[in-house]
């Protein structure tokens, strides 16, 4: 601590240069945080997927339905604890830009299969008692300013006509990464008001199993049970199902890695150059420090500490900016449901900033350390 005034004084001697270097770190880490947030928004579903849940879809394609009658057959398969289902509604609220998912759900089983979504019991009972009732996620409610008791008109695109829903409950997620941008309503309403062709079918089933270790065996048993039928199934873990969605978007992680690498490499060069200039300017001073008894290792550590402090302050500001940006919510209006900066991204950002600071300071620090006192003093 007693050397802190020297460290801070060194950083303060060229305020503009220090500010610009800190700014470079801040911008780079803001970008890193933003990219990590976007990556998380795309792949977050994979990570939060229940390990004890399987998704059963039509073998032909997800958009092809499955018979409602499969529900009871699925329940009888050994290892299956509970079965629920949902159908994609695909409606539009006011404007097509206002995208959010709407599901017609099996209200009797949905909450037990997805315990991470929390709905107060009285509100849930109100939902069950209203055929036109719906439950909305808290992010969605916040986005449109909805509250319990509001009436929402949604124009159907698959199921034509305008559908009126009464908000009966708002659900929240137990974890920050849980998707709270959905709207659920009772399948009975869809059956009642929907077209003839939509009756007796569901979009997909979600199966809760007894033991995650038996996921493969249960998946096989399900698919074999419906093979050679008119509605063959494809069963996979919820994680694999979510991952296949992400994959459709392309290799986002590679793209983010490439952008991030370029940014950090540029930052390394900029900071390295700055530190080299700073150390070169102070060569005689470092000579004096060595002359009065400061060891070479102290000079090395002093330069490295300066570089690390710059990286830590700039990186911290950048990550703070990214966190504040993410807190404002999904900027795409529904495409990136899980838009938040995950803690592991913050940790990775801090590590990346410190590693860049360390690498950038290493060469100038080593040259300052190696310089002999006599040579340093000669450069007055």
């Amino acid at each position: 601590m007693k050397f802190l005034p020297l460290l801070l004084a060194n950083l303060g001697r060229r305020k503009l240069r220090t500010a610009l270097t800190v700014g470079s770190f801040a911008v780079a880490l803001f970008l890193f945080g933003l990219l990590a947030t976007i990556d998380n928004a795309f792949s977050g579903g994979v990570e939060v997927a229940g390990v004890d849940r399987l998704v059963v879809i039509n073998k032909v394609a997800l958009i092809q339905p499955l018979p409602f009658s499969y529900r009871d057959r699925l329940r009888r398969i050994p290892g299956v604890r509970e079965v629920t289902f949902a159908s994609w509604f695909g409606g539009v609220y006011r404007d097509e830009k206002n995208f959010f998912p709407q599901f017609a759900i099996d209200s009797a089983t949905y909450r037990s299969v997805f315990p991470e979504f929390v709905v107060p019991d009285p509100d849930w009972r109100a939902f069950l008692s209203d055929r036109q009732g719906c439950v909305v996620g808290e992010s969605l409610a916040r986005r449109f300013g909805w509250k319990v008791g509001d009436r929402i008109p949604i124009r159907g695109t698959i199921f034509s006509g305008t559908w009126e829903f009464n908000v009966r409950a708002v659900y929240r997620g137990r974890r920050p990464q849980d998707d709270t941008t959905q709207l659920w309503f009772q399948r009975a309403y869809l059956e009642e008001k929907g077209p003839e062709w939509g009756r007796g079918i569901v979009g997909w089933y979600t199966v809760k199993i007894d033991d995650p270790d038996h996921a493969l065996a249960v998946s096989r048993a399900i698919d074999e049970g419906f093979s050679n039928s008119a509605w063959e199934t494809r069963t996979q873990t919820e994680k694999a199902f979510a991952a296949s969605f992400v994959k459709q978007m392309g290799n986002i992680q590679l793209l983010i890695l490439a952008i991030g690498s370029v940014v950090f490499f540029t930052l390394l060069l900029v900071t390295g150059n700055t530190m080299a200039m700073a150390v070169r300017e102070r060569t005689p001073e470092n000579g004096v420090l060595k002359a009065v008894g400061y060891p070479d290792s102290f000079i090395l550590l002093l330069v490295l500490a300066e570089s690390l402090l710059t990286a830590a302050v700039g990186g911290g500001l950048g990550l703070l900016g990214a966190e504040l940006f993410a807190r404002r919510g999904d900027p795409t209006g529904g495409l990136l449901a899980m838009f938040f900066l995950p803690a592991r991204a913050v940790a990775a950002g801090v590590l990346a900033a410190l590693a860049t600071g360390l690498l950038a300071g290493l060469l100038p620090a080593a040259s300052a350390m190696r310089l002999s006192v006599v040579d340093a003093l000669r450069r007055v």
């Binding site: 005689p284 002359a291 009065v292 008894g293 400061y294 070479d296 002999s372 006599v374 003093l377």
Partner: protein, 240 residues
């Protein structure tokens, strides 16, 4: 008592024997010091004079453990410093030598107080103890009222006095001054040399000083001339 003939004083603080220093520039060898001998007793005030390139600063660097000789030995207070490693030399300098350079080499972003405190940060002294030492050193050089000033807020003479305070703050065995008045006008130079003389006279410091200025050299107890890599017999001996 100062001797340059290789004989011993018996109570020498600094003892250099057969010092050689050779610099190599490519294939060329430059012999700066050749078999130089020197004995300096505690409390001596020695001035080194000589033409540019005669090796005055090189000699000072060797005596202060800033550089190592090509051959020969330097013994200070019974410790042969020429056998110490770079790290050991650094530690030794911190305990035994105070340096004053021609250009003051103060850290421009630190106050006079912080500049003087620098050598003490390497000691186990507590903050209050360090403060007391720094205030004493600044009082000796007459700048106790300037301790919160930055170097840019001080005159050249005041800067050099801060550098002297930094050199004496850890109470070293001896001071090495390399042209301490070289950048100053006559009046400021006299003030600095008065101060150095005071350190010798009142505080018993041993001072070895390089200078080009005969008037400054006159103030030393002993003036030695360095020519062709060797010291000439003492040109002037007087009480400091």
């Amino acid at each position: 008592m100062v001797r340059v003939d290789g004989g011993t004083n018996g109570d020498s603080l600094i003892c250099a024997r057969a010092l050689d220093k050779v610099y190599r520039r490519g294939a060329e060898e430059i012999h700066v010091l050749r078999g130089l001998n020197l004995d300096v007793s505690r409390g001596d005030f020695v001035a080194f004079m000589g033409p540019s390139g005669s090796g005055k600063t090189t000699l000072l660097n060797l005596l202060g453990g800033l550089d190592v000789p090509t051959a020969g030995t330097v013994t200070v207070g019974g410790d042969e410093i020429t056998s110490l490693s770079r790290r050991q030399l650094t530690r030794w300098r911190a305990r035994h030598v105070g340096f004053v350079f021609q250009t003051c080499n103060l850290i421009p972003v630190l106050t006079a107080f912080r500049n003087v405190e620098l050598p003490l940060l390497l000691t186990p002294l507590r903050r209050a103890e360090r403060r007391a030492h720094v205030e004493t050193a600044l009082r000796i050089v007459g700048l106790e009222d300037r301790m919160d000033h930055f170097p840019r807020q001080l005159s050249g003479g005041q800067e050099q006095r801060v550098a002297i305070a930094r050199a004496i703050v850890a109470d070293p065995d001896f001071l090495l001054c390399d042209e301490p008045t070289g950048d100053l006008d006559r009046r400021r130079a006299d003030e600095i040399i008065d101060l150095v003389s005071l350190l010798v006279r009142d505080y018993g410091k041993t001072v070895l000083m390089v200078t080009h200025d005969p008037r400054v050299a006159e103030r030393a107890g002993v003036v030695l001339h360095l020519e062709k890599g060797a010291l000439q017999e003492a040109a002037h001996v007087d009480a400091a």
